[in-house]
Symmetry: C2
DNA sequence: AGTCGGTTTCAATCATCTTTGACTTTTACC
DNA sequence: GGTAAAAGTCAAAGATGATTGAAACCGACT
């Protein structure tokens, strides 16, 4: 991190303490996310988060007065990181003659295989029967959905003007990929899945008008 | 597992008490399944199950000494009912000139929209981070997967000989449908989803060689 | 310079609540 | 009367949030 010797207009977090505090909060939040992945949402207790973060529970509860505050921060953190990674993966520069559809399919597949997707998935499932969590998650989910559509439009501008086919392509991609990723959480991802992804790419080409 | 000393395959209740006992066990198991749907796996406590079943906890624990026993029975119950309903829906008689592919898609869609799918889904997600539950669920999941492939083969015998396309069709169908159903658990199922299903049916026709 | 007061970070303990499974008692049926 | 079903009571374990206590740090003042 940056040191504080700079005498510039440090509007935020100029103090050493504030910086340390921010860092600690970050550790806590990332520990919580790791717990969602490893232990599930239900198995994630404040005790476990604190242990993984290497703090006492009391210290943690100083930064986040209650568990729901940690969850709130984790959702936010997760969202921004996931969105950034997704955008970067989708809009990775490619040679002009590359199969951008296939690359996009691969990028989406990598996205849903990432632990962050698992964490978000755990939260989504828990939110189905937990209204408070649902209230926290809802805006984030909607934002991500909007962003995913926008990113796709940016990456495939030539698709403009074929709104029907474009929407269908996006919906289809999302459902196949998410269904496959979720199934792969329980049993093992196998060779046949690769074929499904190849088929999907083929059909996306058709929908684009190739 | 008090295997009564009686000889013969009289699994059905012979005595009045045994019959009542079986009936109560059934009520308990179905209450547990309803709880999975309404409250999620984590939210399903023995207290809630007993309340929904209209029994005292003590009475319930007489029939199922521990919570895991209820879960075990619920998984079994769920499996057999789900499998039966799926088979019936898939192999429903249709007029000879009907679009059996479209009917199959619809049947599968109805299947994943059924509360039993939600219950099973909750259990699957919980099993990801709960080895004991995973051990209970694994054989059941594998059995259902086998049965789904077998049922599809029975319903579409003309697909025989096109193994590659057939497998692809089944995988694709499953992933699209499950992905769509799971997404519909959080946000609302919309009109565009209908289009995706229609598209899926169209592509299944292609894969069959129509 | 050096010390004092106050604040921030971290640690530990406590009381409360929930869930679970064991145990005991009452009721109903054969 | 004896046996199974149902109900009620109990202690142990775990999780949460609040409170108290200790250590490090910052700014200010003599």
């Amino acid at each position: 991190m940056r040191d504080s010797s700079e005498s510039g207009p440090a509007t935020e977090a100029s103090g050493w303490q504030a910086q340390k505090s921010a860092s600690t909060r970050n550790v806590i939040v990332e520990s919580a996310i790791a717990c969602f992945v490893e232990l599930g949402y239900a198995g994630t207790t404040t005790t476990v988060i604190a242990k993984k973060a290497g703090l006492s529970r009391g210290a943690m509860l100083h930064h986040f007065p209650s568990k729901i505050d940690i969850v709130r921060a984790a959702v936010e953190h997760l969202h921004s990181k996931r969105l950034k990674a997704f955008r970067r993966a989708m809009s990775r520069p490619a040679p002009p003659d590359a199969d951008r559809v296939a690359l996009g399919v691969q990028a989406f597949w990598d996205h849903v295989r990432h632990p962050m997707f698992v964490a978000f998935f755990e939260l989504s499932v828990a939110a189905r029967t937990d209204p408070e969590l649902a209230g926290i998650l809802k805006p984030t989910q909607e934002a991500f959905e909007r962003e995913w559509y926008q990113t796709a439009r940016d990456v495939f501008p030539e698709w403009e003007g074929r709104g029907e086919e474009f929407d269908l392509a996006l919906d289809l991609t999302r459902y196949v990929m998410e269904g496959m990723a979720i199934a792969a959480l329980t049993h093992q991802a196998n060779e046949r899945d690769k074929r499904v992804r190849a088929y999907l790419a083929e059909k996306l080409h058709e929908l684009r008008g190739d």
